[in-house]
């Protein structure tokens, strides 16, 4: 008995040793920074010293209207981009997944190309197009007699434009995942539905969408996390403007950390973003784990 326990312990030890490097990296580069971030959020940090200030940095945030603007904007981005991505990807994937393999590949490739292009490059291309002074869109608008068009300089249009740019760049990933999931749905379910005389719409609604639920949960979670961190497109297209109309939490964090050198306040924003991500992701993860 004792011998067997020793053998098990030895075998487990090998396994633990194998995961140890990964665990060390995980602890060092993920867990430690989280705790360090929480600690820093309670300090006022100068070049020369750190002073414990309790929750002062959080109070500073709650008294700053730009922080609330960033919070609301980030939530708006998350809601719209995630809904658009999931909805559009479901629509495209369910429309083509059972078509000719070449056609599926073509559609998949077409939507995936923007995902492969760097967000920096995409943002710069959009910036050239949308520049109010010498951009292509403004040029055509002027030529068509629409006057000066400044989509990025108008607080009413800047958010929809950023939502569209981000959605157009990211949706390819979701389409690929959905098509793969839909191809994996057992064929006999569709055959049974055909025998029962179900319409295409009913097949999508009753069979396809429930069958790819784990994929939907996964896409939703990764998109929530990705959009919460939206930064590059803001930095390159609008700089958070006009008048902070498109500022996001990540951009606000960046400004505090690297432009204002308020590392404590920036850490507090990071902690709040971490909590929001947890709150948004836990229910989704829970439902995914329960299903399994």
């Amino acid at each position: 008995m004792k011998l067997r326990r020793n053998i098990y312990a030895k075998e487990n030890m090998t396994g633990y040793l194998f995961i140890l490097p990964q665990m060390l990296v995980f602890l060092l580069f993920l867990v430690y920074p989280i705790f360090e971030g929480i600690r820093l959020s309670m300090y006022r940090i100068n070049y020369q010293s750190e002073t414990f200030v309790g929750f002062d940095n959080y109070l500073t945030l709650f008294h700053d209207p730009v922080f609330f603007k960033a919070l609301v904007n980030t939530v708006v981005f998350v809601v719209f981009i995630v809904i658009l991505t999931v909805g559009f990807a479901l629509f495209v994937a369910s429309a083509i997944f059972d078509k000719n393999a070449r056609y599926v590949s073509f559609i998949r490739g077409s939507y995936y190309i923007p995902v492969m292009v760097s967000m920096v490059v995409m943002s710069m291309v959009w910036s050239f197009l949308l520049n109010p002074a010498n951009g292509l869109i403004s040029y055509f608008a002027r030529d068509m007699g629409l006057g000066a068009v400044n989509l990025l300089g108008n607080p009413k249009t800047v958010m929809p434009v950023i939502i569209f740019v981000t959605f157009a760049t990211n949706v390819g990933q979701a389409i690929i995942l959905y098509i793969a999931a839909m191809i994996g749905v057992p064929k006999d379910l569709f055959e049974a539905a055909e025998v029962d005389g179900a319409s295409r719409w009913q097949v999508i609604l009753k069979i396809l969408i429930p069958s790819v639920k784990p994929t939907t949960v996964y896409i939703t979670i990764i998109n929530i996390i990705a959009v919460l961190k939206i930064f590059v497109v803001i930095q390159l297209l609008t700089g958070g403007g006009p008048n902070n109309a498109s500022v996001t939490l990540m951009y606000y964090l960046y400004n505090n950390a690297f432009k204002y050198n308020q590392l404590g306040v920036a850490s507090a924003v990071g902690v709040i973003m971490f909590v929001i991500t947890l709150l948004l992701s836990v229910p989704q993860l829970k439902s995914m784990l329960q299903d399994k």
Binding site: T14, G153, A257, F258
Partner: protein
């Protein structure tokens, strides 16, 4: 079986050890700390780093073979090392992008690896003095240098009682205009001579804008606008700060606080809004950058834009090279209600960061003194405007504009006020200008909010300033 298990266990252990060794590597080496290794001639080897933002290409000028932004400092480093007898010194020169300066410096300061020497405009670097990150250079400035460089430049680099930057050259900000466009709009009488910085009154300026708006031949200058206006970010914001002084606002008071919220400040903001709404500027100022404006001017889409000697010389070089359309460009002052030109300058010079290593600081200070005083090297300051009267006098034949810039120097205002938190303060201005141009705030509200928010930033930074809390 056992051998196999032993092999896998050993491999895993090896991986862990190598990983830990990698993580715990002595970063002092990366720090470039003065090592005790003996260098050339038995002297101790000391390696320092020098950063600069792009200023000018080449040692003396951009036409040299292989001219680049780091040519000057690299040449200065070689010359310095060859004659330096205290240590076996070497200088590693790196060019960093101007818009990444604060990010790179903050990250490197947090990890205690700042550059030893930084060559840059003084105005965005004042914050680092207030934060205690810089070493005073008062002891390396001698009387001869003090006599040769005008007091206004020493004032710009003095924080509290100490000098923190060694002035090398300066880049006065002015307006630039397309003289061909002026002539096409019937504005010959407002065109100054080639080597003049023309001063217009406010009335004349308005006449110019009116004529550029209505009289320009549309076939020759399609989609052209009278003047540049931009507020998407903090780039080129000094011209916006100058415009806000147009009606006589002193901007800062003696305590280093903003005092824009008065009749003069509101009038200047209202003037900007009137120009924007009246179609006298490029459209979409709230989302146009100074780079966009500069490109538009070079494409003859703007009659009047902003410039400094480096931008002006690059613009002329681009025209000569055929990389941008060639036209007659000339300089003008920013007008003001008083009739006196609004004049400001970016003093460019070297500073030394507090690395905590006495030997590196010593070498860095010696290096700064060397290239800021060496008779051959200081001639490179002609790429901007030399701060040294001796150099300006010697080279006035090469650049006749030196005299015109010199005549402007009595109108210079210190646009930073040397206040703590100036970098953060810059982030307060452009959102307010955006709100003004979008009509979200009245001119009165805009100057009031800018003053309130700006003074809040200054107060916060005063609390942490080593200069204010000595």
């Amino acid at each position: 079986m056992n051998n196999k298990r032993l092999f896998t266990t050993m491999t895993a252990l090896l991986l862990i050890v190598s990983l830990m060794a990698g993580c715990s590597g002595n970063n002092k080496a990366g720090n470039g700390a003065a090592s005790s290794n003996a260098g050339k001639g038995g002297k101790e080897k000391v390696e320092i780093t020098a950063w600069l933002t792009p200023q000018w290409k080449g040692v003396l000028n951009a036409s040299e073979q292989g001219a680049d932004y780091d040519s000057f400092l690299k040449y200065a480093a070689e010359k310095f090392a060859a004659q330096y007898d205290k240590y076996d010194a070497s200088v590693k020169v790196e060019v960093i992008a101007g818009d990444q300066r604060d990010q790179l410096l903050n990250v490197n300061l947090s990890s205690n690896t700042p550059p030893d020497v930084f060559f840059e405009s003084v105005f965005p670097m004042g914050d680092y003095v207030h934060r205690g990150a810089m070493v005073p250079l008062t002891d390396i400035v001698d009387d001869e240098a003090k006599k040769d460089i005008d007091q206004s430049f020493w004032d710009a680099v003095t924080f509290g009682d100490d000098i923190y930057f060694y002035p090398f050259q300066h880049n006065p900000g002015t307006l630039v205009y397309n003289a061909d466009m002026f002539r096409a709009a019937g504005l010959e009488k407002f065109v100054g001579s080639e080597n003049e910085i023309k001063t217009w009154t406010m009335d004349e300026y308005q006449q110019i804008l009116d004529a550029l708006k209505t009289n320009l031949p549309k076939d020759k200058y399609p989609n052209a606008y009278p003047m540049a206006l931009y507020a998407v970010n903090n780039q080129g914001d000094t011209w916006n700060l100058a415009y806000l002084r147009t009606f006589g606002s002193p901007f800062f008071n003696n305590e280093g606080n903003i005092v824009l919220d008065d009749e003069k400040g509101a009038k200047a903001a209202a003037w900007l809004k009137k120009l924007y709404d009246g179609g006298y500027t490029n459209p979409g100022a709230e989302s146009v950058s100074s780079n966009d404006a500069n490109a538009m001017f070079q494409n003859q889409q703007l009659g009047i834009s902003f410039t400094n000697p480096i931008l002006f010389s690059n613009m002329k070089t681009n025209m000569e090279n055929g990389t941008s359309p060639k036209f007659d460009v000339r300089l003008a002052n920013i007008p003001s209600e008083s009739g006196d030109p609004l004049s400001f300058t970016y003093v460019v010079g070297a500073s030394v960061f507090q690395s905590g290593n006495a030997k590196k600081i010593e070498v860095a200070k010696d290096f700064v003194k060397f290239f800021s005083t060496d008779p051959e090297l200081v001639k490179s300051s002609k790429n901007g405007i030399p701060v040294r009267s001796s150099v300006a006098e010697e080279l006035k034949g090469e650049n006749p504009l030196f005299a015109a810039y010199d005549a402007n120097s009595k109108y210079l205002f210190n646009f930073t006020g040397n206040v703590p938190g100036y970098s953060q303060l810059r982030e307060v201005l452009y959102p307010e200008l955006q709100a003004l141009y979008l009509g979200q705030k009245t001119p009165e509200q805009m100057v009031k909010d800018y003053q309130t928010n700006g003074n809040k930033v200054i107060e916060q930074n005063k609390a942490g300033s080593v200069i204010y809390n000595k």
